[in-house]
Assembly symmetry: D2
């Protein structure tokens, strides 16, 4: 940590800063410069709370050199982490995984139809919400536990592991019981009680970036899960809040190489929420794979015109088929491949 | 709702949109224009999910005329709601309320000292966190239930009602037991499970605006609480995420008159988080009152240099005294007054 | 400047950084730490371009300790600068100046009517655009030179000095000829050719903050003007681009105390563009004065319903009268006063 | 256009709105609804200025159905425009064009070396700044006219057409004389005087998106150029201002398919400014091509460690070679190809 003093800081002010640093248990190292003095802090400063330094008289700025996160960083663990959703369905292992399905589970017919369609096109996991965080309390909120049971049925039919969202601790326990991967949505990225709870459950977690979260914020939220002893965390870029209404969100694909540099955790992209409109999903899905994403999570609905939520950003089945073909070519162009479905399809399946 | 068709939309595309609207249970009204056709939707459209219209061929845009929130709106209830934290401590009733105290409860001595100081200066409620949402899992997380007991002690000593944050349902129940108003922090503004829980508890709620929440988002989150039958909700502007590091957040004071126009709920401002630096707290506190805020929540610490969190934005006691004097003059200048402490001070108090 | 190395940086990488710093003419000072090495740079580093350091192998981050601007900083000149628009009309001297008038000059009748109205209410300068930067090439673009002549006529009638925008060098010369203060709009804040031109003209300049400019960017743009030898610069906060459509812009009043800390230049606020809606102008104007602004620039139109631009954010004359009364009370509450009109009104005036 | 009235609007208020619309020369069509009345406006409303409607009593919102831009829209001209930088060097014609070279022209040796290197790797045009818009007046500002002459020399040596920035009208005339395409930088995207000037010059224009510009703003700025009779405009996504310092800008690749839907003008991407760090340039360049960009503009420097500007985001020559190979594979994967250099290389060249 570096405390930069103002040009006009007095000797007494510099001494006070040094005293406060000493009181905190660290060693201050004043470095006089031509324009101003800076004071270094020696010691393991990852946990230093700078708030009682920032406001001291004569202090211009406090600069952190160490990062606040630890276990999620690539400096801590240089080898990429592989997160296993099910036997043979690994994220971060080189092959690109596609998690696909409807926004919400609506009915047995709908989720089975969707599961067979995405499986046939080459997806390796099924998404579908049973608990839906909606901005309005009057919007469709999901089928709850009944929806989880339908997802489990779809897994039984298709062999696809299930990725589905939990919004609270009770829901997380249910998802851990019926599903394979607990999704934490953007709105709950800094719901620390929930992060600790899913850390303790030990199931794989898909952690979506909040709509105004820095990449550092995202990694710190993942750190909450790892700090509970669970390193099976997949990060997900899903678009940021924007001033431009031309798209639903501002899809930050640069997060992919940045996260891959800073962390050993895999990162996937969600072009459905990232764009909000069906027609932009495929180009941005291709772009995400070209940028090096470890996977995608994509909304596909058997009948988007009648979807209960997110219809506008859900692909038609034939669009999804076409996208999977495109992705295979993009993956090959960058020397990667698409993951294969993990389990053999049941004889009666799609 | 209005569906705007593209300039090039065909008759068949227009007919499809009309059919989908009819299927949804509404009446479509096509309005051909010189440049393009727009299709109105007749019926009570507050709950219309537009997602299956946005993506239809030929649709350029879907425009919502009705708002998604209902019970929080001033159209629904023209008379301003008064939220009562304790007998005689009302927010939204005209007098300006100041809630003050340290970021975190750290010790008995600290919280009692803070409580006596803010009471003496004229604050009408005490703030202090027992459960702290911190970006890093390794930062100080608060004293928990022990902190709540210290807050209750401070109330006993000073008569000040307690405003303190809850991060999950279990915490909310504890806060409801020991405190007077449950604070929902910015990071949990869209934690809908928590919003429903505090709605059911029936205690007054202080709901902070999320760091990238629109005012409409804030009102929709409040709607979750009102939808559970609890209208004792105070909204709070505390600053938005910004590209400029000159301050901790971008303090959106214009939210005050906007919320007052759109909703009957009271709104207060938090200049401590809104700015992040002690030296900007007082000018922005004055500005918030001049803009018409129903109250303030301000961080004051008996010894900010040794605070365990938010020291840089905590006022020194003498700065807080001075601020309260300034606020009285500003309040008078706009024809309002500062609320008085609700309960007589105990004989033994500070 | 401080170059922070990655945890895994090799000795060779550290040596390369030191060599590049030496090649740039500075002295490198390696500081090994427990987690990572940081390398300080000794010498007058205000003009160091870090771009050839940031990308070197092993470099994690380059941190600037010195600021890039110089002449605009309060460290350079501790005493506040007073900008004089006309004899007796000073901004930054303690008294609060109100510049008011219509968005655009539309006709002789309109501008004279506006000038008399704002003068009567207590404004000390007249605003009105002759050259209008409009997002669409098909919107009204202003009367040009004819507009400037009408402004000069209004000054002759009322004694109010004229503040009006220039969009290019030729326009700036005309404004310098007919007006008293050259306004540079938000869209041109980083039009460096124009900044240099107005620096050379030597007239007072009103520099508006760009819609995504940091305060540091704003000060650097002002530095362009001061670097040409002209220190008569007034800064202006007018709202930032926002994700929330509830207002036209996000009005960053905290910029007022921040600029006053970092710079000796005066800063005023524009609540008309800052909010975009007439009903929010008055509360935010009051807030700006309470926050310590050196002045305001406010849109008032004799007949806003028929304004050719910005009608929605223009006050009616009677609203402006009321606002001026409110501002006097707010100014008194913080120990300041409102500036008086500089020149006696002509006998035939308003 | 649609004027939405408040729930509580009176008949008199509705009548006033209708009267104002009539006064503006349009026909009002009131549409009473269950919750509120909306008033449609019939007539060619592309040029309607809504500002005198927004502020009328009882008005809740004014909604624009028509877009403000015209000639740039795909509705106006469905066929994609091809912009020709030089014989055989077309942007928007299907083949993907790469414009590459250093941030600034620094010397004859540097620019010739760069030009030969990018030509050898397969670039089809040369970039290099002679006039540099720098945030600080004390940073390197470019070689000016001498730089343009060096660029012309490089074109003579390599046959590559020249793309270089102009910051004002005089500079634009010089660029038109020596170069092949006038670049307008992000900071000048709304410098309307400059846009009109380059419209009149008739040379191809590369218009970069401003750092907080919506896509609609970008198209409106292009409309200024087309309105002068020049449709040879290439749009460029170069990253937006962000709250996250992990990258220099927030690179909005979704702008590519959005612009391609809304406009017939070609769009390219600038991954150098879009990311700010060399290591992210290649993945994001690949992503831009996968998303469907019509081309790229990339910074490559023969010796980035010694660049006078933007060294951190400039590729090393061997990185650029590798990138071009990758791009060819990505282009093939989406059924496109990379443009070939237009002119045969001079015998004495690289």
């Amino acid at each position: 940590m570096l405390v930069v003093m103002q040009h006009s800081a007095t000797e007494a002010e510099i001494e006070t800063v040094c005293r406060v640093i000493t009181d905190m248990g660290y060693t201050p190292v004043p470095m006089p410069g031509e324009q101003r003095t800076a004071i270094g802090l020696i010691g393991n400063d990852t946990r230093v709370d700078d708030t009682n330094l920032v406001g001291l008289p004569g202090v211009a700025q406090v600069i952190h050199v160490s990062k606040q996160y630890k276990q999620v960083s690539r400096e801590w663990k240089p080898v990429s982490t592989v997160v296993s959703l099910a036997p043979g369905v690994d994220i971060g292992g080189g092959s690109i995984v596609v998690i696909a399905g409807p926004c919400s589970v609506e009915s047995e017919e709908q989720i089975l139809s969707a599961a067979h369609a995405v499986r046939a096109a080459g997806a390796t996991a099924l998404r579908g919400g049973a608990f839906k965080p909606r901005s309005s309390p009057y919007s469709f909120q999901g089928l709850g536990k009944a929806g989880l049971k339908l997802l489990a049925l779809a897994r039984q039919e298709t062999g696809l592991p299930i990725v589905t969202e939990a919004m609270d601790e009770a829901g997380a326990e249910l998802v851990a019981e019926y599903g394979d991967c607990i999704q934490i949505g953007a709105r709950n990225m800094q719901n620390y009680s929930l992060l600790k709870a899913v850390g303790r459950l030990g199931k794989p977690v898909l952690l979506k970036r909040g709509m105004a979260a820095t990449i550092s914020d995202l990694l710190l939220s993942a750190e909450y899960i790892l700090a509970e002893g669970n390193n099976q965390v997949v990060l997900c870029e899903r678009g940021l809040r924007s001033f431009d209404t031309a798209a639903r969100n501002l899809f930050d694909l640069n997060a992919i190489p940045i996260v891959q540099k800073l962390s050993h955790l895999p990162i996937i992209a969600d072009p459905s929420h990232g764009t909000g409109f069906r027609e932009y999903v495929s180009p941005m899905a291709r772009a995400a794979v070209a940028a090096g994403a470890d996977g995608l999570i994509v909304e596909m609905h058997p009948n988007p015109d009648r979807a209960k939520s997110d219809g506008a950003q859900s692909l038609f089945p034939e669009q999804f088929d076409r996208l999977m073909l495109d992705l295979r070519r993009i993956a090959a162009a960058i020397g990667r491949d698409m993951a294969q479905s993990g389990a053999p399809l049941k004889p009666t399946g799609g």
